[in-house]
Symmetry: C2
Subunit: 195 residues, 2 copies
DNA sequence: TTCGTCATGTAATGGGTTACATGATTAC
DNA sequence: GTAATCATGTAACCCATTACATGACGAA
């Protein structure tokens, strides 16, 4: 997951570790925070695996910075990883992180992943509501408040997913109307939310 | 954290592992899920530490169930753990789990912990908003949507905390008005949300 | 009698944090 | 010159998951 995030950021532009952490914090700080103790070893691992490479130092001033660039193998691996979707409950919870890179996927894949995520949340919601119905007699007020808040947050999440899905479907229809897609569309400008 | 949850549930009533997992799922499923691979070893560890103990089997039918009860030491440890508050970023994220046991704390402690949590979220919110202000030019639409959703969810969380804090303050005033608190109030009925 | 659920457990692995250590660079 | 930030790194630990294994019990 951290690997996915690193590859995704490096695909945008080359960076060194410290900067990667800042970017991660700024973009995904609500859902994720990484420590250096996790980041640097991961970068080294990625380098050994050949999916990223260290750029030669430009001058004497910046000698201490290790700027990394994604390799071609890295690009392929990144796209495969992203397309594949979550492989465990843990990765599923990190859905927001994947979403941050949806611009690199085809609309069909985006919809597939969004729907999958929605199903997960709807399952949880159904269970939560079921618990709530049988709860009031057996749990205290704090637990009750907690459960209600959980339901509310999950509903909010699902509504958000619905918006995203609707936007994707609109995009698909537009593409169908256009009929003749020129060539490989630019993922940065083609999705429903412009930069 | 799992230890806190187990002790808290066992304080309510004695249970076996399988049932603990079900209860955990029902009450905290939105924020937490435990696997058996985590639960059973933790129970054994707690037993070795003497904070829970295994009840003797009542009859032949239930021979295979290991029903655990919290010990006196366990009760003390639980309250200390709860009162202490989160000791790491990880534990801080598990705030909802702590809240589920707020009924066992004095109103002052509840307010202290709620305010602390609120500060954490407000810090994150401020950072998020700051990122959003400088973002639009540099990130794509999905990341933007993600950031906005993060802000929105965090605001929702803070509003929820505010409600809880307000309710606690009201409780405190009621107690002050009553002037003569009889004796050790029952935590299950004394807090602002009745069961 | 077979299928679903109840019930407990272990071994290997995963993904990450905390604490610590080091030192360069920048701004005051 | 000194404090804050930039920048990289390692070792020990934490808390949990996944996958597997085992078997009892109840209902169809």
């Amino acid at each position: 997951m951290l690997e996915l995030a690193i590859l995704g950021l490096l695909k945008e532009r080359s960076m060194h570790g410290y900067e990667l952490k800042k970017q991660l914090g700024q973009r995904l700080g609500f859902f994720w925070t990484v420590s250096f103790g996790s980041l640097y070893p991961t970068l080294k691992r990625l380098e050994r695996r050949g999916v990223v490479e260290r750029l030669p130092h430009a001058d004497a001033t910046s000698r201490r910075k290790h700027v990394y660039r994604i390799t071609e193998t890295g690009e392929e691996e990144f796209l495969a990883l992203l397309e594949e979707g979550p492989q465990s409950a843990w990765e599923d919870e990190k859905f927001p992180l994947r979403l941050a890179f949806f611009g690199y996927l085809r609309p069909e894949s985006r919809i597939r992943l969004l729907e999958r995520r929605k199903q997960t949340l709807e399952g949880r919601l159904a269970e939560g509501r079921r618990s709530l119905r049988s709860a009031p007699a057996r749990v205290d007020g704090y637990t009750l408040s907690l459960m209600r808040h959980g339901v509310s947050v999950t509903e909010h999440d699902i509504a958000w997913l619905d918006e995203l899905i609707a936007a994707e479907r609109a995009t698909l229809e537009e593409l169908a109307d256009a009929e003749a897609p020129s060539n490989e569309p630019d993922p940065a400008t083609e999705h429903p939310h412009g930069p």
